[in-house]
Symmetry: C2
Subunit: 146 residues, 2 copies
């Protein structure tokens, strides 16, 4: 039951919360020993803060939960491929594993900062990619229609 | 009087505060219209948070001060070349100008993510570079000696 799809669904629930708050709908959870220890969604608009991406807040909350700044035994699930900033943070946190849903061919770190992660971090991409992409593309389409 | 050296001295004062708290001594200020609207230093140890770099906190504080997330009319002064994460944040914030002191040939964004900044951001490096580098190298030397 506790597989990558299960946890990506939880990240998608966070993205849904962002959507309800008119934020770009991206969500993240941090998992340790099959337990979710942090959940977050993008809050850049509400906080007027470009650094308030889902991943950044999830990393901060997870470290706070664990009482240490390194997340070597954790997996970060995020609905969209992290940007340069978030990949840099994931690198500093030495996260054990990164799982993301849809790629971001414009802003994704694999294009902008391909060596940002810690060398030991394992990466899985494409989990529920269609759902993860659709909620974002629908959001921007609706913005253009307004 | 209000030149780059003046504001870099203020950033160095922030680095000094970090040093007094046993943090890697890096400091930053954000300036708008020759006024410092945010000042911050590295707090990764105290907060157990890898995202608590001087630049990140300065950007968050400046945006909070201005009530908007873009810092297009601001200059960010930071004592050491920003890392991948911070350069990504500087890019998102569309900061008008970045001034840094000493280069970081290992972790600096010019190596790791050379296109992270907004194309319109102007960059000046090397302001008080020796002082900015010395406070950090002294810190790590002292750590190794202990």
């Amino acid at each position: 039951m506790f597989d990558d799809k299960y946890f990506m669904q939880r990240a998608l629930q966070e993205a849904q919360r962002a959507l309800e708050e008119d934020e770009v709908p991206i969500g993240a959870v941090v998992v340790s020993d099959n337990q979710i220890i942090a959940r977050a969604h993008n809050m850049t608009e509400r906080l007027h803060d470009v650094t308030a991406h889902a991943e950044m807040q999830a990393i901060t909350a997870a470290a706070d939960n664990l009482g240490g700044k390194y997340l070597t035994d954790c997996t970060l699930y995020v609905t969209i491929e992290p940007c340069t900033m978030c990949a840099g943070a994931i690198g500093w946190a030495q996260i054990g594993r990164l799982v993301y849903g849809a790629p971001d061919p414009k802003r994704g770190y694999t294009l902008t900062a391909p060596r940002a992660l810690h060398p030991k971090t394992k990466v899985t991409s494409g989990v529920l990619a269609d759902e993860c992409a659709k909620i974002v593309t629908d959001f921007f389409q609706k913005q253009r229609d307004n």
